[in-house]
Symmetry: C2
Amino acid sequence: LGLKLLYKSIMLFIFTAMLVVKIGGNIIDNEIALNSFLKDFAKLNGPKILIHGGGKIASALAKTMGIETKMIDGRRITDAETLKLVTMVYGGLINKNIVAQLQAFECNAVGVCGVDGNLLLAQKKEHPSIDFGFIGSIQSVDTTILELFFENNFVPVVAPLTHDKNGNLLNTNADDIASNIAIALSKKYDVTFVYCFEKKGLLLDIENEDSVLSSINISEIEKLKTEGIVTDGMIPKVDNIKFAIESGVQKVILCHASEINNLNNNIGTTFKP
Amino acid sequence: LGLKLLYKSIMLFIFTAMLVVKIGGNIIDNEIALNSFLKDFAKLNGPKILIHGGGKIASALAKTMGIETKMIDGRRITDAETLKLVTMVYGGLINKNIVAQLQAFECNAVGVCGVDGNLLLAQKKEHPSIDFGFIGSIQSVDTTILELFFENNFVPVVAPLTHDKNGNLLNTNADDIASNIAIALSKKYDVTFVYCFEKKGLLLDIENEDSVLSSINISEIEKLKTEGIVTDGMIPKVDNIKFAIESGVQKVILCHASEINNLNNNIGTTFKP
């Protein structure tokens, strides 16, 4: 254990700090909140990467286009038409508008998705009974292009799409993409994975926004589930965070998107190994 | 003149060869022709960049979404809704699908548009009597991100969108983007600008596909216009090519998209200074 800690200390000393930030659909759906978030994100020092989700824009557009939206376990059943739709909305509309706003805030952003530079290779998600369609399950992360961006002061903005190397794009969960990228980058950088959402952190009492648990060791997570403190939609998020830390991510902070400019002031919930 | 030629010879010797390839809407609209073109493009040796147009997909989708398509002088009048549409179609659907196909052909492509890495800065196109809406007129090209891609064997694929640095994207003519990028790159590379379209080159007789003019000096272009050989839709194309050469692009080839794999065999029409 002593040697392990020593090794870790040395590596943290050598490793460059890296911020991996995920923003979800609730912020993307709110134009003012998104712009304010991007203004704060643009100011953060050092190398950083933003991974964004999809939000409700795709569903709204699906309605306009007469495409039926089917969700199972929070995943969008993705037939060929829906894949076109999410490619347009995630890879085009949302991604390029985020980049345009960051550029206006003097942040030299570059919008990519998992197909660009072979960043995220995936396979169609297999399920014994449900056909999810063109949904990707991530197989590997090639961070070459991200490192190139970091070394040259570009800020990558990643849309939730992957590819299968056979010419097909795949609709892929943004949380999965964020944790997989955070894990891959943690081998070369001292990663702080900031998971932004619409609450102030992990709440001991869901009704009380001030009941934020400031810090938690991942070994305590199962207990919180048993006690009913981590429930419903929080379970996949927390499991994703646990997986990220178990896989080597140095630090994870779960916080409200509006607090991203306050990361050093002990905001949100910090997850520790 | 002797010194100028000597300088040019030395620079061509020092400069790396660079292929700047433009494909237009007619190829993009044809799934089989596009895939075949991309297979050929993937095989081309050395650093290269692909700039693509929009095609009829945007208009078809506009119809589905109940957005009216208005074209003046071949430019799409771009209101706020149309801007969203072209951002989705050009920056998302077309761009990411081209990249996915190139990745399948072992070409390490990266899809970007003019906002990414501040590649193409533009202003809203001004016109004394027509309001084109969100149409960009290119102000400057920053090739930093492209050079980074070339140096690291990534192949940029550029969608026809620019930005104004105030957070707005702008719909921008792909021919203008291609010639501006070719000109900017010609300062650092020995550029061959390959302009692919649906004919075999500049035809002396528009009815006869075998009447390709194999080579032309740009000083002869005005004569061809007067003689009625260069007419209609060919005029802006040829003017764009002339402008590119006058601005320093070393060589321009106008050819059929299916001939891209045959560039060394004197195909199409070569434009010379």
